[in-house]
C-alpha cells in the first residue's frame, strides 16, 4: 500500500510539474487555437489518403 501511495503522489507531483512546464513553453496557446476553431477533421471534412 505504501508503494501505491508513493506512486500516486509521485505521479501527481510529476503531472503538476509537467502542466507548469507546458504552460511555461506556451503549449496552452496551441491547445486553445485548435479548440476555438471548428476542427474540420473531427467533423469529417477533408480527404481520405487513398
Amino acid at each position: 500500500m505504501f508503494h501505491r501511495k508513493a506512486a500516486s503522489i509521485a505521479v501527481i507531483i510529476i503531472a503538476i510539474a509537467m502542466v507548469v512546464f507546458g504552460i511555461y513553453r506556451t503549449e496552452v496557446s496551441d491547445v486553445f487555437n485548435k479548440a476555438i476553431r471548428i476542427c474540420l477533421e473531427c467533423i469529417g471534412i477533408g480527404w481520405l489518403p487513398w
Partner: protein, 290 residues
C-alpha cells in the same frame, strides 16, 4: 441513480454553450485553454473545454512541439487522482453509450477471448494519437490529428451532426472522410445497444491511459478479504465482466460501483483512502500485496 445524475450533470454543464447549437458555431472563450477529464469533442457546439485526446494530437502534430507536457500532465493529474472513475462517472461519451445500452434488445457480454479486442486501444493510442501526428507531417511540418480524423465517433456524433443540422449550408461539402467517420459512429451506436460501452472497451485511447492509472490512482475500489466469500455475484453484476474480488485495480474497471450493492457481505467499498478501517482487518493492504 446517483451516478446517472452526476453523468448527466457533467455532460450538460460541459456542453452548455447553447448559442453554438442554435447558430452552428463553437465556444471560443478562455475555458478552452483547459482540457476536460473525459472524451468530449472540442468542436461540439456546446463544449466549454478542450478534449484531452484532441489536444494531445494538436500539440504533437504542431510544427513547434513533438510532445505535450501540458496535456500529458493534465491527463496524468486527472488519472492520478481518479483513474477510470472518470470514465464511469463524468465522461459524456460513456453516458451516451450507456443510454444506448438501455434500448431494448439482446445484450451481449464481452468475456473470454473477446476481451482481447481491448488491445485495439493500444493501436489507437500509439498509432493514431501519437504515431501518425508525430511522423506523418506535411511540408510545413504539421501532422494531422489522425484519431480525430479517421476514427473518433465522439467527433462525428457530438460535433459533426449538431453543426451540420444547425448550419447545413456551411458544412455541405462532406465527402469520403465523413462517410468513413459516420460509418464508424454508426457501428459504435448500434454496437452500444447490444454491448456495454463498446467504444470504451475496444477503442478509447483515453480510457486506456486512465486504465493504467487505476493501479496507482488515489481513488480505489477496495475488497475486504476477510468478508469476501468469493461468491461471484459482483462479477455477474459487472457489465464489464470484471472479477473485482480478484483484482480491485483492474484496468478495465470504470469504478461504476454496481458491484457494491450486490455483495452479500458488504466486502466491496470504494473511495480515496490509504488507510484501512479498523474493522476491515487491513484487507486493502493484503489485497494490494497479492
Amino acid at each position: 441513480m446517483v451516478r446517472k445524475i452526476v453523468q448527466s450533470l457533467t455532460a450538460v454543464v460541459s456542453n452548455s454553450y447553447i448559442t453554438g447549437f442554435l447558430k452552428g458555431t463553437i465556444y471560443q472563450g478562455k475555458l478552452k485553454n483547459v482540457c476536460v477529464p473525459g472524451l468530449n469533442c472540442y468542436s461540439c457546439p456546446g463544449a466549454l473545454g478542450s478534449c484531452p485526446i484532441g489536444s494531445l494530437q494538436a500539440v504533437i502534430g504542431s510544427a513547434k512541439y513533438r510532445f505535450s507536457f501540458y496535456v500529458t500532465g493534465l491527463i496524468l493529474l486527472f488519472g492520478g487522482f481518479l483513474g477510470r472513475w472518470i470514465c464511469g462517472w463524468i465522461c459524456p461519451f460513456g453516458l451516451l453509450q450507456e443510454l444506448l445500452h438501455k434500448v431494448p434488445g439482446k445484450k451481449i457480454r464481452i468475456s473470454g477471448n473477446w476481451k482481447k479486442l481491448s488491445w485495439i486501444r493500444y493501436i489507437m493510442l500509439f498509432v493514431f494519437v501519437i504515431g501518425l501526428p508525430l511522423f506523418v507531417v506535411n511540408i510545413a511540418g504539421y501532422g494531422s490529428p489522425a484519431f480525430c480524423k479517421y476514427v473518433c465517433p465522439a467527433g462525428t456524433i457530438e460535433a459533426a451532426l449538431p453543426l451540420i443540422l444547425a448550419a447545413p449550408d456551411q458544412f455541405g461539402s462532406l465527402g469520403g472522410l465523413f462517410i468513413l467517420k459516420a460509418s464508424i459512429a454508426a457501428v459504435v451506436v448500434i454496437a452500444s445497444i447490444f454491448i456495454y460501452r463498446p467504444f470504451c472497451t475496444m477503442l478509447c485511447p483515453l480510457g486506456l491511459i486512465y486504465g493504467w492509472m487505476n493501479k496507482i490512482s488515489m481513488y480505489q475500489m477496495q475488497v475486504d478479504k476477510d468478508k469476501c466469500i468469493e461468491c461471484g455475484k459482483c462479477r455477474v453484476a459487472c457489465k464489464l465482466d470484471i472479477e473485482i474480488y480478484k483484482n480491485p485495480t483492474s484496468m478495465e474497471c470504470i469504478r461504476c460501483g454496481e458491484c457494491k450493492p450486490v455483495c452479500p457481505t458488504n466486502a466491496i467499498s470504494s473511495g480515496i483512502k490509504f488507510r484501512t478501517k479498523a474493522e476491515g482487518a487491513a484487507s486493502f493492504t493484503e489485497i494490494e500485496g497479492k
